[in-house]
Symmetry: C2
Subunit: 452 residues, 2 copies
């Protein structure tokens, strides 16, 4: 029986980055990646297959090439059994391999609302992280007129925006009063929901799907809890993802209360020599340290790097621990991003904070062509002034501005330090140093904390 | 005699931000700003007056309005004498005021090369930070054909690029083998020099001006040290700036070896109740702590904020000290930025470092329209892995990416932490998390430091 130093189960970003990290840093170790589909895709790129990438899933392909280039091996198959005592895995094909270390990077699957009558009709779809599935779905919906998206989180809203851009008649149904409300503050959720409406999507908030009715087994209408009947040629559900943990459970790995694989700071499960990272593994909320549900490609890759370095024994103790949800999107040309605490999630977690907002042109002078407004909102501890969260929106710069804020949160930088933060500025690239919105928002917080 | 709690001498970004900070945080204090010209300008915006802003200095105006809005007073006049014993200032007009605290924010003036024959001919210009002067200069050179810029630092190169864009026949003369070499690594200096050539500027490096010849008192030709004779309708010198310290010297303030006003970490001079910030004041190099020459609007405003908060006694001890030069520019559509150490300035300062570079598309998948390449180069301590410097170029994102690196330098973040740095990513806004260039360059450095 063939033996590998490491076998990775999965083929998404967590699996690929784990593989890359191990092959790069431990070149003598043999690594096998077992993935179910030969083709992979960029998970965050899925919405753009529907319009911006010209309805061509090929342009959103992401394979394990960087891992293979570093000497990793890939097998397209399904692991059906793990024998944790003998340290053997068995494939659907019957093949068996031995491992020294095993990594679960089995990802997550869309939640299927089997409590809604009609959920199993034809033309009811999900945003599956499968190349083949998305390729077929994009091809299919491009020929349909009335499309209903259920769920106003990032994926649902982005798919809706793209399909509206492709001239479909798109209705989005969201149960909360605003879209994006799991990630954004109420203020930014309202701005984002408006941007989504401006993109041409018919947005129904505070609305739930009661039933999907069909004709000849295929979708015909969606009935809402408030009595609306909306014609539908297709329904796409985007109401969250659940960890793929069937094999983990059968293997005897402990799951947490959300059904994610229980791991420590280095990705180690409760079973010796088995680790897990990415969507299938437990996340610890950065603010509180309790287990939380944060399933992002960015956090998955951070976990994968930490795991990869430490899989043969903890080598890098100085990792940044805790999962900080950092979210960004662009809807109808408006970039929006958030990290860490806001009024809503902090209240839920019992965290106190103060907040301040500052806006300025993203170039200077503001008379330059192409200038957009950039707004930064910061959240800090009312006692020690450490940055607990932040948001940025307007200009495309928000995409990297949020990562400055993200670093400040991860390193417990305070507003007292931020007022003397030295930044590079240039007329064609950034705001003026006089009105740098991070520094000026921090200054507002210094005022609230210490001068009142 | 009228008395103010604070009198600020100067009207540039350092003066304005000092005034804003004091008026915002100490609302009971009276603040007078004495400036020589009623009109101000955005210093970094000067090059864009010559083309992108349509030859209209009005569009680059920056006045003290935000300070006045907060209740500050402005007087257009020149301070000719300071009596530090009586704590009085005397204006050119004869008016006198008393102060409790006095701030020098007198800025800097272009270096005039009086050792070059012909330097005083008509149509020999400087990039003065004066609204009136720049307005006239822009108007004047717009009607000329052959323009020679001397000095290939940021201002000189940006002015050259803009004038070339405005269809002038522009030659830039730089004494070093590459332009931008005071701020950028040799690698990035070479890229920037190429971008400048691509913008249509005739760039002569390793070249010095020997003489300027004239006709009827006006510029005719520039003679170089290697025998070239170049026709010139105007010559613009941009060979550095010197602190304006005549009044400071007369007042008895101590200057350092570069001629800048000696100050402590909070901007306090050697004379009680007199502070200084911005281009006229001493900078401490971030890496070594020794006095250094760094004259940027961004560092000036950071100094001004630190000074403003602490002028009535040190209130915020937790400021980030040391002046970190963070530079950015865009030449011919290529954004380029640098912070802290590179191979060249580190060797000069006797600082050891290791370096690594990583490039990736600034959006993902790379097949999206409008994708540009983003390269990040990091420099770290070979012993503890702390980030000492960095560069970013290619994509416009470089303008904010350098500020992530800048924060890492200022907070002594290590490459071991950066590999698990959690970032927000989005297809339309950032690189893929799998190939985030900051994280991947840090990973290369971890490899160099610990795995070899």
């Amino acid at each position: 029986m063939k033996s590998y130093d490491v076998i990775i189960i999965g083929g998404g970003p967590a699996a690929i980055v784990t593989g890359i990290t191990i092959r790069k840093f431990f070149t003598e170790k043999s690594v096998l990646m077992v993935k179910e589909e030969a083709d992979g895709l960029v998970p965050c790129g899925i919405p753009y297959v529907f319009h911006l990438l010209g309805n061509d899933a090929e342009k959103n392909r992401m394979g394990p090439k960087p891992f293979v280039d570093l000497g990793g091996e890939v097998l397209v198959n399904t692991v059906v059994r793990v024998d944790k005592e003998k340290k053997e895995v068995t494939m659907e094909s019957g093949e068996q391999f031995m491992y020294d270390k095993l990594v679960f990077a089995t990802g997550s699957t869309p939640v299927v609302p089997n409590f809604i009558p009609g959920y199993d009709l034809q033309n009811v779809y999900y945003v599956k992280k499968s190349f083949q599935y998305i390729q077929k779905l994009a091809e299919k919906v491009s020929r349909l007129k009335n499309i209903i998206i259920v769920g106003g989180g990032f994926i649902g809203a982005e798919v809706a925006e793209q399909l509206a851009g492709a001239k479909a008649n798109v209705t989005l149904i969201e149960s909360e009063p605003l879209c994006f409300s799991k990630a954004f503050s109420p203020q930014l959720s309202a701005i984002a929901t408006e941007a989504l409406k401006d993109s041409g999507v018919n947005v129904l908030t505070s609305t739930m799907v009661k039933e999907i009715t069909g004709e000849n087994g295929s979708v015909r209408q969606v009935l809402t809890n408030d009595g609306k009947k909306i014609d539908a040629d297709a329904v796409i559900f985007s109401i969250g993802y659940r960890a793929n943990t069937k094999l983990a459970e059968e293997t005897g790995l402990e799951l947490n209360r959300y059904g994610d694989i229980h791991v420590d700071n280095y990705g180690r499960t409760t079973v010796k020599d088995i680790s897990a990272c990415g969507d299938c593994a437990q996340a610890f909320g950065f603010l509180t340290g309790r287990s939380d549900v944060i399933k992002l490609a960015s956090t998955a890759t951070a976990e994968a790097r930490t795991l990869g370095h430490n899989i043969f024994g903890v080598r890098i103790k100085k990792c940044i621990f805790g999962t900080l949800g950092v979210f960004s999107t662009e809807i109808n040309g408006v970039a929006m991003a958030a990290a860490g605490a806001n009024e809503k999630n902090a209240a839920e977690a019992g965290v106190n904070l103060v907040t301040a907002t500052f806006s300025s042109p993203d170039r200077h002078p503001g008379s330059l062509p192409g200038v957009a407004n950039l707004t930064v909102k910061l959240y800090a501890s009312p006692v020690d002034g450490s940055i607990l969260g932040g948001e940025a929106w307007g200009s495309k710069s928000a995409g990297e501005i949020i990562n400055i804020i993200s670093m400040a949160i991860q390193k417990s930088i305070t507003v007292f330090e931020l007022i003397s933060f030295q930044v590079g500025t240039h007329p064609l690239l950034t705001a003026s140093p006089v009105v740098n919105p991070i520094i000026r928002a921090a200054e507002e917080l210094v005022h609230q904390i210490s001068y009142t």
